[in-house]
């Protein structure tokens, strides 16, 4: 992150309230392109909300108040007339729990392109293989692509969900604690695949531990009770935090 990489997503004074409770209290923050940005902090800090705002998944939630801007490549994703479906194809999301759709492995991975109207069989097969390769799952499932996705192990299901997002060739990949339910081996596989994925897109991830954050971060931001306490490039937040609260959290004094 030396020569100032291009900004992919910029959150600008984002305030968000749900049922009268302020979840985000004016967050301003940038995620660079082709790097892993880590959003960490204790539960209830607004990490998930911030991610869901980036691809407008909270649009259908009632009783919310939102102000500020979310800019993707400098364009406001909440601008009137902005194409929400196109946004969600550009900004993929993987959830904390593996959520395979009903159906086979093949159907899951190709779901996005098929929803977008892709019908060409050989095209879909190519997407299927490439996405599973990139999610480090191809070798394990290539002989049973038409098995139900639900028959995979938890770790495999989560990589399947990563593959499903990658099938859309997203410019940004949002990962909300993607390894929270996984064993260390599966976690390592997911982390490894992130390292190669970041050469192709911007990754924003909520890690499931401070240790994981420190392992994978190119840039990290500490979110506490809806407030962005501080952010920095590299691993500075974990080795030399400036704010006392950050220090206390990364050294394990609370959280």
């Amino acid at each position: 992150m030396v020569s100032g990489p291009a900004v992919k997503i910029r959150f600008e004074d984002v305030r968000y309230a749900y049922g009268g409770v302020e979840v985000l209290k004016g967050v301003t923050f940038e995620a660079p392109d082709r790097a892993v940005t880590v959003l960490f902090g204790p539960a209830g800090g607004g990490k998930t909300t911030l991610m869901r705002l980036a691809n407008r998944l909270n649009d259908l939630v009632d009783g919310t108040r939102f102000s500020g801007h979310v800019l993707l490549d400098g364009e406001d994703v909440y601008a009137p007339g902005a194409d929400v479906q196109r946004l969600r194809r550009r900004v993929g999301m993987v959830f904390a729990l593996p959520l395979p759709l009903p159906g086979t492995i093949r159907e899951n991975v190709t779901a996005g392109p098929r929803l977008a109207g892709q019908r060409d069989r050989s095209r879909l097969d190519a997407i299927l293989e490439r996405s599973l390769e990139r999610a480090a799952l191809w070798a394990e499932v290539k002989d049973r692509l038409d098995d139900p996705a639900a028959r995979l192990s938890g770790g495999q299901q989560q990589r399947l969900c990563v593959a499903r997002s990658l099938a859309m060739e997203p410019e940004v990949l949002l990962l909300d604690e993607p390894t929270s339910g996984l064993d260390p081996i599966s976690t390592a596989k997911v982390e490894d695949s992130l390292a190669s994925l970041k050469t192709e897109c911007a990754i924003v991830i909520v890690p499931h531990s401070v240790q994981q954050a420190a392992r994978i971060a190119d840039r990290s931001a500490f979110l506490l009770m809806g407030e962005l306490v501080e952010w920095s490039d590299g691993k500075d937040l974990f080795t030399a935090p400036k704010d006392k609260r950050t220090e206390e959290y990364v050294t394990g004094r609370f959280g």
Binding site: Q85, G92, L101, P102, L115
Partner: protein
């Protein structure tokens, strides 16, 4: 089990040395057993009528059932021949009911479950559905007469009868279908949206297929009720005696429940076996639909992956 509890009470008495405690626990065990017996009897009470009904109808009606009874027109004042027009009439009325009630009911359920926000309009729609379910069937019959037979000039016809039955069936279809749709985890919808799909795509590709067993069950339950009803078709579709098959939706028709009513109360000297035979056919029709619903539900559920 019984032996152990008897032993247990003697052991319980020993350390405390107080006999009252033992007798309390024994009487408690006795009370519990009595309770189970009473509850068991209560559930038996449910089984007895259905067994009696089925056994009586099969025993008395079975003699009437032969190929002619199922495939011929009634003859000599319905005392002889078959009940084909009534069977066909009931099937057609049920089919007509399905054609009207399924698209409207399932469509309404999709709207309520997937699109409607919680506002005054939605609440009043729900209130209407609940109240629609509580209206006596004869009132539907009168409504059908006024609305479809007279005002829309459909005449006494399969069309008017089917529409009347459809309105009666709608609340069952809507509420069971909505329940089935709501039972599909929200996360599936979120995933489809996050992949750039539209809300309708989420419904069409994931939610509806997953809810299908529940919806089918609801539809069949609703149709079962429609197939067996007499009051709603009394003024709107049913013919007292019409020994031919209907030619168009605007024809009157005989129907099993009404035919049963007619031959049981309006025609003197009707042979027992014909009455019970007719009841048996109606019962078999309804029960086989019920079995079909169960089979379909099972088959779909086995394919479910969550």
């Amino acid at each position: 089990m019984a032996a152990r509890s008897r032993d247990g009470s003697t052991i319980a008495r020993a350390p405390g040395g107080s006999s009252p405690r033992g007798s309390t626990s024994r009487s408690r065990a006795l009370g519990q057993r009595l309770g189970f017996v009473l509850l068991g009897l209560a559930s038996l009470v449910v089984v007895v009528p259905i067994l009696l009904v089925v056994i009586t109808i099969v025993a008395k009606g079975e003699a009437a059932i032969d190929w002619e009874f199922l495939s011929a027109m009634p003859r000599s004042g319905m005392k002889e021949g078959g009940i084909l027009p009534a069977i066909v009439g009931t099937l057609l009325l049920t089919l007509g009911t399905a054609l009207a009630a399924v698209p409207i009911g399932v469509g309404g359920a999709i709207y309520l479950s997937e699109y409607a926000r919680d506002n005054a309009l939605t609440r009043s729609i729900r209130l209407a559905i609940v109240n629609l379910a509580g209206i006596p069937s004869i009132v539907y019959g009168l409504f059908g007469l006024g609305m479809f037979v007279l005002f829309l000039r459909f005449g006494t016809s399969i069309l008017a009868g089917s529409l009347t039955l459809a309105i009666m069936t709608l609340p069952i279809v809507i509420s069971t279908a909505e329940e089935a749709l709501r039972a599909v985890p929200t996360e599936f919808r979120t995933v489809v949206l996050s992949l750039g799909g539209s809300r309708w795509q989420a419904v069409k590709t994931v939610v509806l297929p997953q809810a299908m067993p529940g919806i089918i069950t609801g539809v069949i339950l609703g149709l079962l009720r429609a197939a067996g009803e007499t009051a709603p078709i009394l003024f709107t579709a049913a013919a007292f005696y019409l020994p031919r098959l209907p030619h168009s939706p605007f024809d009157q028709t005989m129907a099993l429940p009404y035919h049963l009513y007619v031959i049981s109360t309006q025609v003197p000297g009707m042979p027992e076996s014909v009455k019970f035979g007719t009841a048996l056919v109606l019962l078999a029709l309804v029960l086989s639909m019920n079995v079909a619903a169960t089979v379909i539900r099972r088959r779909f559920r086995r394919k479910r992956t969550w």
